[in-house]
Amino acid sequence: MLLDKHGVLGPDTWRHLGDDEPAADGEAVTISFKRWQAEGERWREHSGPLGLRLPNDIAPAAIAAALDRVALVVLNFPRFVDGRAYSQARLLRDRFGFRGELRAAGNVLRDQLLFMARCGFDSFEVDTERARAENWSTAFREFDLFYQPANDRAEPILWRRLRNWQTAAE
């Protein structure tokens, strides 16, 4: 199942193709980065929505040119302690202006969800049973204050405080 950044569980409507699996007409599918590299032009013509799965050791710049065609990018956390995809997410959003869906896959756990959401992820492949047992949907609301600017555009405490200081001085 998929969890969205509002904490709602829902089905995954995409099919994630293996490297020799064909797509049906109009079907929403994701393909691997490798496949995109080899057959990119063909996939541009695919009649349905297209998503890309990017391994965490490939710089997002490598798919910058694909982003106008792609509605979903899936980033991977092979182990939850491997945090490369956080930077990939920030770059895809901030540097390359990707507006589509950004999804976290792999070893996604409750206590990393908020970090991910702040870096620009908006959906998460989760273990449904655990997500229910541990009440994952509340993980996004554990903090409402942050010290640093991120992709969620929350006003950082440092800046907010400065605004208060300035109004107080006026």
């Binding site: 710089a59 939850f80 302690v81 491997d82 945090g83 490369r84 956080y86 930077s87 990939q88 920030r90 901030d94 540097r95 756990l109 206590d111 990393q112 908020l114 970090f115 991910m116 702040r118 870096c119 655990r130 047992a133 541990e134 554990e142 903090f143 409402d144 204050l145 942050f146 010290y147 640093q148 600017p149 991120a150 950082p156 405490i157 440092l158 800046w159 907010r160 405080r161 400065l162 200081w165 300035q166």
Partner: protein, 551 residues
């Protein structure tokens, strides 16, 4: 001193609530130890040999008397009545129960303390000069910048799962008392020709298995751009730092394998591409000024330079005179002194402090030092603003609490990590070695003069042995403790890594070996030369030879 506002307080409340739920899930069996480990570490909770160990962050080594009392209470209520000050200017408690930790953190939050990011693969406590704000040789007070970086780095969404831990130090004085060159990222505060404040950014220093000194990435980053530039440094590390081998995952290995030029080019490319993100991170002058206002100097009363009376007391009591000479430093405010409170009484575990000693220091800070206390990376405490006229009284009262050993900077002021008596990673004990050495050398330490002995209980080098004038590394050989000894290291502005003097020695040979090295130094030194200077001049050979001859 910085005080929390409603935002900081709320943030900490939210954090403690989150942690309480994590502990609940762990005790209920919902989280595996593997999953929980990384969560508890992000709140400073380790599992050591005897129990859980809780490490509390002391941001840039600055404490108020209220905080120190809060720590004393943790020691008394939830531990065995003492804590251990570390080389990262933090404190750790050795006998903590997991089930108590949420309550401990609630208690600490009331005095604006926490354990966030005292472990884990993210930003660690930011350190600086323990004399910040009072040192006579300071360009600008580093603490406002430390606090800004501390806040920016707290639960950073992008950099909380770095390849490995990340330590930042800021130095703002001409003498580097923050050891920036042994940090993952070091910042040297500077003023450029136009008089603007900025930072030299150094990257890739660290001790451990592969000791390397940091190298300069950029000579001058204007303070406005500080956070943005650090972000670029970190982003390159987060993407390219190694994650396949724990021992190669620090940024120093990345910088070493790319070479500083290539690393710098990567950072500069990233920085140039940052665009809007750079603006979002820009530090406006007003923000810095507002933060600086938090660190305004205390309201010193005009103090006559009453040195005459002080000199009389010194003449009358040589013990007091010795303490003044060893344990006080010049203050930039006339009539005041910086006092170093020794946590190294002879034969006691280095850096340990009992609850009642903490309360004594808190009390003395309230009456004599504007309620302020500092922690040094040499594991001592500092009362930063003491009127000279109060020094004699202070000395008596510290002495009564066994806190006035006149040994700062001398042979018995040893730095030692907890080692195998507490630490689950240790290969040998550190504390007994330090105890034996300090007892043995104390008698002639005045004749020896400044000498830094640093001891680590394993290759992780928490005792900074590589940069000790004499460094001692505890190893294990066929089930027995053995110790590798280095000489000539230094953590000053001319930082240097020590050279290995010979094969590792057995535990009962350490004292005699160090004795010979000290003798060799005394024989070779030219008028008043410090150990690392002698070493730089004569090299490793005479030290090796002295040991070889003895064998």
């Amino acid at each position: 001193m910085y005080h929390y506002d409603e935002y900081d307080r709320r943030f900490l409340e939210e954090r403690v609530a989150q942690y309480r739920d994590q502990v609940r899930r762990r005790l209920a069996g919902q989280l595996s130890e593997d999953e929980f480990r990384s969560l508890r570490l992000m709140n400073g909770l380790y599992l050591q040999l005897h129990a859980y160990m809780l490490r509390i962050s002391i941001p840039y080594g600055t404490l108020s008397s209220a905080k120190l009392r809060g720590l004393a209470e943790v020691a008394r209520r939830w531990d065995k009545g003492y804590g251990h000050f570390t080389t990262r200017q933090n404190i750790q408690f050795n006998w903590i129960h997991l089930e108590d930790t949420p309550d401990i953190l609630v208690h600490l939050a009331t005095v604006e303390l926490h354990g966030i990011q005292t472990s884990g693969n993210s930003f660690r406590n930011i350190t600086t000069d323990p004399f910040a704000g009072v040192a006579a040789d300071e360009i600008d007070d580093p603490r406002p910048y430390c606090e800004i970086v501390r806040q920016w780095s707290a639960l950073h969404p992008e950099f909380s799962f770095l390849p490995r831990k990340f330590k930042i130090a800021i130095n703002a004085a001409s003498e580097d008392r923050a050891a920036v060159k042994i940090h993952d990222l070091g910042l040297n505060l500077r003023r450029n020709a136009a008089g603007e404040i900025g930072f030299e950014v150094l990257v890739g220093g660290g001790l451990g298995r592969t000791p390397i000194l940091a190298q300069t990435v950029r000579d001058f980053v204007p303070r406005r751009e500080l956070l943005a530039y650090i972000t670029a440094c970190l982003r390159v590390y987060n993407q390219y730092g190694r994650r396949d081998n724990l021992f190669k995952s620090r940024i120093k290995i990345l910088v070493q394998s790319l070479g500083i030029e290539k690393y710098r080019a990567e950072v500069e490319d990233e920085y140039a591409a940052m665009g809007a993100e750079r603006d979002a991170l820009a530090l406006p002058d007003a923000a810095v000024a507002a933060m600086q206002a938090q660190f305004a100097p205390p309201a010193y009363r005009e103090a006559a330079n009453d040195d005459a009376e002080l000199r009389r007391a010194q003449a009358a009591e040589p013990e007091f005179a010795r303490w003044i000479e060893r344990n006080t430093r010049p203050h930039k405010q006339a009539g005041h002194a910086i006092v170093i409170v020794s946590l190294k009484p002879l034969g006691r575990p280095t850096g340990d402090c009992s609850a009642s000693q903490m309360e004594t220091v808190a009390e003395l800070a309230d009456t004599l030092s504007f309620g302020e206390v500092r922690v040094t990376h040499d594991q001592n405490l500092v009362l930063p603003h003491v009127r000279k006229s109060a020094l004699y009284d202070l000395w008596l009262r510290l002495g009564a609490a066994d806190l006035a050993t006149p040994n700062i900077g001398l042979a018995s002021d040893i730095i030692a990590c907890p080692g195998l008596d507490y630490c689950s990673l240790a290969t040998a004990r550190s504390i007994p070695v330090a105890q034996a050495l300090s007892r043995h050398l104390a008698e002639r330490e005045v004749a020896i003069g400044p000498l830094q002995i640093k001891i680590s209980g394993c290759i992780n080098a928490c005792g900074h042995h590589h940069v000790g004038h004499i460094g001692i590394l505890g190893l294990e050989k066929n089930g027995a403790e053995s110790y590798q000894i280095t000489v000539g290291g230094s953590d000053s502005a001319r930082a240097a890594l020590g050279g290995i003097v010979g094969p590792a020695v057995a535990a009962d040979e350490v004292t005699a070996t160090v004795d010979r090295l000290v003798d060799t130094y005394l024989r070779l030194r030219r008028d008043g030369e410090r150990f690392p200077d002698t070493y730089r001049r004569v090299g490793l050979a005479p030290f090796k030879e002295a040991l070889y001859v003895a064998r």
